[in-house]
Symmetry: C2
Subunit: 393 residues, 2 copies
């Protein structure tokens, strides 16, 4: 595969590139800046300065409008099923709590799920007096809620969302998916897969910036049965009547809490529009090609240096990032950043994680990433790096 054959090649110019010598392969931690996000953020600030409070007549629609855009372009969901709001953590809390309030039984997630998912569920298990079972299986007891990540944050392994959701439903439980590492990287078909609940972040493959608002999805048929534990005024029916008692709004809006973060929402909108323009199918196909090239080159150049593939070998079972395991992964990772002009991510205990966001990653970048890694480790320069992992994101 070459960049000359890449139908998405032109999208690279839609992003800001400062230092062209550095290969950035950590877009799955924080995506690059799209030019439209910079423009739209500046325009929103200007709009606020000019229109002041009257701007709210438009802004107030953004959580749902951006949600509908995400539903259509990224999530395979219907209009009125998605909101852009709050953080992934807060959204997970809201939806998991809502599910537990209406269904008895234990909570299941995997021991290797992303930390915030495990921690939030641990807190809710204690609160609701439920067991939290950390397992990849569906244990043989009454289950209320099963929470999985669609793409695993460490390995990049891609779950079969339809099959897992069906198995969860067979057990009478709600399926709650964390799409943080899949939204904007691979096809997601929430409606077709029958998913109940989902959350995810927008600062990875949706390129909306550090800490940009997250999203939540509640299947239309469930919305009237579920209630957010955080009864905020933006989830209130007839909000500006400011009535005496809380009555949840009809539809997805009941899962809003406080005043929505408008500056962040326009960034999510611009980022998601870029994904819509490219098309998620083309993005996902390129992601498979990029990661396949990385795996092939790693097999040839890095396996002899002690690297093992930490991701599925089958491209259809991977997201858009690849983990390579190495006994000195931390030193390799820091050595790449400090000495080789490559920015990957370390994920303990022993993974170097290379993210290849399809919208702006070239096949040449994949080749360069693997070659620079080979040269670093062949030279032994990584051994000079302090071996103690430090606090990094």
């Amino acid at each position: 595969v070459t960049d000359a054959d890449d139908p998405l090649a032109a999208f690279r110019d839609r992003f800001v590139f400062g230092d062209e010598d550095t290969i950035y392969v950590d877009g799955n931690s924080l995506g690059r800046l799209p030019r439209t996000v910079a423009e739209r953020s500046a325009a929103l600030v200007e709009d606020w300065g000019e229109r002041l409070v009257t701007g709210w007549s438009d802004w107030i629609e953004l959580p749902q409008a951006v949600g509908d855009l995400l539903a259509r372009a990224v999530l395979g969901a219907r209009p009125g099923e998605v909101l852009a709001c709050d953080s992934t953590t807060v959204n997970l809390y809201k939806l998991a709590d809502a599910a537990l309030a209406v269904r008895p039984g234990a909570i299941v997630t995997d021991a290797d799920n992303f930390p915030t998912d495990r921690y939030v569920l641990e807190g809710l298990a204690a609160r609701h007096g439920r067991e939290l079972l950390l397992t990849d299986e569906l244990p043989d007891r009454e289950l209320a809620l099963v929470c999985r990540s669609h793409v695993a944050y460490r390995s990049g392994g891609l779950e079969d969302i339809a099959a897992v959701t069906a198995a969860v439903h067979d057990r009478g439980a709600f399926a709650l998916w964390d799409l943080s590492h899949s939204a904007g990287a691979v096809e997601v078909e929430l409606e077709a897969a029958g998913v109940d609940l989902a959350v995810g972040c927008t600062y990875k493959y949706l390129n909306a910036g550090p800490g940009a608002p997250a999203f939540l999805y509640v299947r239309e048929e469930l919305q009237e049965r579920l209630r957010s534990p955080i009864q905020g005024w933006f989830g209130q029916r007839d909000q500006f009547a400011m009535g005496p008692r809380y009555e949840p709004e009809a539809g997805i809006a009941r899962f809003l809490a406080g005043t929505p973060p408008i500056l962040g929402l326009v960034a999510v909108q611009a980022g998601a529009e870029l994904v819509e323009e490219a098309g998620i199918a083309a993005i996902a196909a390129k992601g498979r090609a990029l990661t396949s090239l990385a795996v092939e080159l790693a097999d040839g150049q890095l396996a002899p240096l002690g690297f093992e593939l930490g991701s599925p070998r089958d491209a259809s079972r991977r997201g858009a990032h690849v983990a390579l395991r190495h006994p000195k992964a931390w030193q390799v990772c820091r050595g790449l950043i400090e000495r080789a002009g490559v920015v990957p991510d370390f994920r303990g205990p022993d993974s170097v994680r290379f993210g290849f966001p399809p919208l702006y990653t070239r096949f040449a970048d994949v080749r360069e990433t693997i070659e620079r890694t080979r040269r670093l480790v062949e030279s032994g320069a990584h051994r000079e790096v302090d071996p103690t992992p430090r606090r990094v994101t």
Copy 2:
């Protein structure tokens, strides 16, 4: 009082003014755009584009750094007692839940408290099996938590935060203050008043933009006893070890949840720095002078037209806004916006709310506001406005 004598007069130039003919007296709904906020937001976006994930080494400190700035410049709190994060609603939920988890008894708030406060507390009361008592008093039964607004959103009435907190403590309850309409408008002395918990927003008198991140305060002595119900990874001790079990971080950081909204936080930082530069004592003094002028002029010009003062007459008992009650308040409010070039706010059932943020409001603006209101109502033009209140913020 005249603008020539105003020691803060020069601060008006620090804000963006588009249409100079319009008198904006709704800065207590959404503050104006400070030039530094526009600059800092653009710089952050540029910083993201250049530094990418490595920017997090600085950004990760922002919730606490901006919190410390707010503590010092706005809240009369100590370092390590304030975080900038999430929305006011989510922060209120976290703190009220944490308080209820460690103290039995009923919840008290006033029937006229801001809707989101009432709704959040109503939800928590149901969850914890407590009574929610809507009253200005402290009823004679066991109390866990008393939640008040420092400045009332409708009337502008200013509570005696130290006296009320002391009375709440005498009853063995936690005092939780909503500072949304006071932070940046009047002096707040959380440490001196012995306040336990507080929340507030930054898009009013702190001028951080629509839906900018809110803040929360937890008195240092309480932090180790209280836990956030939302156990997110940013509240986890040794976050990037990503350990198996949630263990709350020491200090105020345990009240963080998900990834902090960096673009919003730099806006809060720039907005709060402007308040720090002007000094909250000078801001509050000017606020009292502005509202006193408004009351005096309304007494003379508007009382004969059927307006009644809906705010305390004693300037030391008011925030920086004034409510005028009128039987046709909705039509007056819309008539001012549509026909008179004045932007106030309507608060049902019968209040026109004029906000006079001291940093950019001139005494001439107060005179013009009252005169344009008089001319509108004298002309009867407000009666041509559709009398049905519509959804507005």
